[in-house]
Structures are given as C-alpha cells and as structure tokens.
Symmetry: C2
Subunit: 299 residues, 2 copies
C-alpha cells in the first residue's frame, strides 16, 4: 500500500491546466452484479452518462427527523467546543460549515452508512465491497452560508490523499428542503468523463484552509467554461429526505445562501475496497483519518 | 428643500430593530391615471399586493444586443480607468461590480430611461411626472459574482439620501438570461407593506464601502425570518430582455454566482417629482449626484 503507484491523473504539477479523458470505467461491477440491483438498467445508464442520480423523498420524514435531532445536538456541542478537529467553520466567521466523520461517533449516522439505499447502490456501482472514505455534514446556514466553488472531489482525493482510481461515489442526503434559492448543489452532467488537471503546487496543511475556502485543486475558468458549454448545469432540488448521488469526478459546487433557510446535507462517500489510499500523489503528508480513511473496513 | 422634514421612517437610530407599517400608498396615481394604462387593472392589483411585476422578453433580442454592445465598451473602458467614481468593484477584487449613472453618458441608456415600457409605467404608478433618481448596471460576473444581501432600497435612500416618501420604483432590465443558478434577484412578495428599521449609526462616506458590501442599513436576521415566514421568496427568471419592476421598499437580494454565466442587469430607478430629496435623515453629508440625483428633471 505504500508502494508508489502510477499517477493516472497528474494535477498541480504544471503551469497549464488541461482536460484529459477519464481512464476508469464509471460502472465497475460485472454484468451480473449490475443486473442484481438495486438500481434499474435505466438508472445505471443515466448515471453512467451523466454522473449523478437524484431521488426525491428517498428517506421518510420520520427518518429525516431522527437525523436532524442528532445534528442539532452535534451542532450545539460543536459551538461550545472549538477543539474538535472534525469541525470546520465558515470563512471569516465562527458558524459551523462542516463536521467530518459523522458516521464514527454517531450511531444514527453509522446506521445511515450501512443503509441499503446508499450502501447497496454503492456496492452495485463500484463492484463489490465498499467502505466509507469520508463522511460529513455541510450546514450552509441561512443568511451567511458561503459558496462551495466548482471542483472534482477526486482531484483532491487523488492528489492529497493518494486515491489511485476513480472508483468512489458520494451520496448527499438532504436534511432540509433544497430549493433553487438556498444554495443547492449544482453538477455539470457528464463532466465526470473528463479530468481537469489544476495549476499550482499543494502546500502542506493545505486542507485546514481548503475545507473553508479552496485555493488549490481549483479548476481554471477556461476549463470550466469549456465543460459548461459541453455539459450544462443541473441543479436538482427537492424536499428533505431526497438523495443526490454523484460520481467522485463530476464537477460540482454551490452558490451562497442569503435566505433564512438553512440547507444541511449529510454526505457519505463510498470507496471500493480495491481502491484504498496510497501515498498522496502530491509531496504532502497524508491528511488526517477523519478526512480520508486509511483504515478501511468493509461495510 | 433644505427644511427638516418629519421622519416617517426612522432607522439606524435605535439599538433594536423594528417592523412598522408602511405610511404611504403603493399606487400613487388617481383612479383616472391608473385606468389610462399602460398596465392593466390586474397588473396594478398584483403590484399593489406583491410589490413587483415580471415581464419575460419585454425587450427584443435586437434591443438587448444594442444595450450589450454599449456595456461591453463601458466595461473595457472601466477596466482601463480606475478613477471613475461611477464604478464599483467586487469586494476583495478588481472585477467591475456596478457602474452608476449609465443614463447620463450613454445615449442608448438615456433612451432606455425614456422608454414608455419603463417610464410610462412609472408615471402610471407614481402619479405624474417622474425623474431618474439613480441608474446603474450590476454585472455579477461569472465565477466570482458575490451576493447582494437582503435590503430595502428605500431604507438607504431615506436615511442616506433624504428621500421623504415611498414613491419610487425600480426596473431591472436583464441583459443576460437570468437562471435559477446564476444569482438572479429574489424578492419577498408583500414585504413592501412593512418598514424594517435597522440597527447602528451610519458612518460618513459609508457608501463607498456599502456599494461593495453593505454593513449598515442591513435588516436583522429575526426581522428577515419574520418577513420570510409571512411573504416567502419569489425568484423570477427569464431570458435576456425580461424586465423585473419592484417597489422601492420591497426586500430583495441575490445569491452569489459561481457559474460561468455572467448576469448583467440595468437598473433604472424612477422617483416622483413630488418626492425629491431633502437633507439625509442620518447625520451624514449627501451622497454624490451619480448615486442620488438632486437636480431632478422630468422625463
């Protein structure tokens, strides 16, 4: 695991950005695994082509209520205690932006990680055993929630965490109604077929800042414009309990939220057990365990 | 004009925010003036109740193209010359955020100010002669366009410019498609019936900063939440050439814009000639002419 792996996706190594084709499949499972469900052939084809799927109301209001209660407790504990490394605050403020590794301390979120509506789908797409690479809550509080700029998760996980292949997917479970105006996630459908290498080197400890506001691993405006012209933008919205699944390399981001409506989402990131982390491809020390799991255990 | 007028709408004078009823009508014209058009009785009733109206495609693509060409010239001139006071840049950057007084230097925008689709409607609602209190272009450039936080224009025009009554309306003419995801204007329908007084005193020269990012004259979160619960949010979107008209006291704002799609709007603000500016109600010198006209001339 500590041996140097070939870098299929170089980034932050040149002065010029570039767009290269994806080297990995999107659907990693065998035909038989794919046919076994839970997703239908149509859903799989949509995901293969577009890199995301959205299910309105996938979790019940009662389930959402249970998640929210857990979060309320965590948030008020977080506001009392500044020492938790799992907690990230808004840029220029003290409001909680994100809490990481929610599936570890909280039984409610540990159960969510094992829920077949997420975990079963991840196994079907990634082909076999999976583990949680990262989990987190993004709060995007009302009035002051700031943007998450366009990025590919995989670019960061590859460069800073040493994830070798594109064989991971994320689920965002909406804990508040996501409306067009409270900063819902946007994706560029089909952009997961392209790898955008970014400009600039990665400073050590970059992650402490980047989780608040990213400066490296940011696609350049020209590449984003090209991708937009080719892919457009989709902005799935729906009630609390809806689920957005998206491929690890899809370009995504969200605008700010000045409305009074907070927009809390829980993210669960599943990685294949055949795609565990090696040494970072950038010359930086590995990020902490609560951001990038290096002790994988199959779910 | 320099005599002290009764302050019907005190703000920035107390430690507590408050919500008080509007003291002025929304439709200021006589029955006969209102019946004369151009707006229908239904449109007038909608505006009276909700404080805004939206007309998709009100200006033709050819007209939009003419406005855009003019803007492109102004923007590139602006990027060469930093000394123009009419120009405001994005917070923390050099991108052009707004250009003021566009109806003065540019014949194309002078003609827009006199266009019956704007000016005629303003006369019908405000009852008689009107003049341009303020005109501007907001650029909200792609990738980096920042929020405009919730505010009532009237609160600022009253406190900082000495506008005595709520007898002004704004038109936003969209020069780019306004989509749900490129930071379109949001309004709280019906909020124009309520006056939110804000906390804090106004520093002199506040406007130089406030046009980039407002810090005074900002409604408090509790008042905004109450208004949202009562009014909700409308976010009209439509193609370039569409027109959004909104009452001077309606709560409005917009989220940021990380998409590659710039979102340029031209604003024309009409005030009644019977509502010209006096001394500011705050203890500050009057703002410059290009922000608040003190030499009114009927259109």
């Amino acid at each position: 695991m500590t041996m140097m792996t070939t870098d299929l996706y170089p980034s932050r190594v040149a002065d010029q950005a570039g767009i290269t084709p994806r080297q990995d499949p999107v659907l990693h499972a065998t035909e038989a695994q794919l046919r076994a469900g839970p997703l239908s052939a149509d859903e799989l084809a949509f995901f293969d082509k577009n890199g995301y799927l959205f299910w309105p109301g996938r979790f019940t209001p009662a389930e959402v209520e249970r998640f929210r209660r857990e979060l309320d407790g965590m948030q008020s504990a977080a506001s009392r205690d500044d020492s938790e490394p799992q907690m990230v605050r808004e840029p220029g403020g003290t409001a909680v932006r994100s809490i990481f590794a929610v599936h570890e301390g909280q039984p409610v979120f540990a159960a969510m990680a094992r829920d077949p509506r997420l975990c079963g789908v991840a196994r079907q797409i990634l082909g076999g055993d999976v583990y949680i690479h990262q989990s987190r809550v993004n709060f995007k509080p009302g009035f002051i929630g700031k943007e998450f700029y366009w990025h590919s998760d995989f670019e960061t996980w590859h460069v800073e965490d040493g994830m070798p292949h594109m064989r991971a997917i994320s689920f965002s479970l909406l804990l508040d109604d996501n409306l067009p105006y409270n900063g819902p996630l946007m994706v560029m459908p089909g952009s997961h077929h392209h790898y955008i290498s970014c400009v600039g080197r990665t400073p050590a400890d970059h992650y402490k800042q980047s989780l608040r506001r990213q400066e490296y691993g940011v696609p350049d405006p020209e590449s984003l414009t090209r991708m937009y012209e080719q892919c457009g933008i989709a902005m799935p919205t729906g009630p609390a309990g809806s689920v957005l699944m998206f491929e690890c390399n899809i370009l995504h981001g969200s605008n700010s939220n000045i409305t009074p409506l907070s927009r809390r989402n829980v993210f669960m990131v599943y990685n294949s057990l055949e795609n565990t982390l090696g040494a970072p491809f950038a010359d930086v020390p590995p990020r902490p365990e609560h951001i990038a799991c290096r002790r994988p255990a199959a779910l």
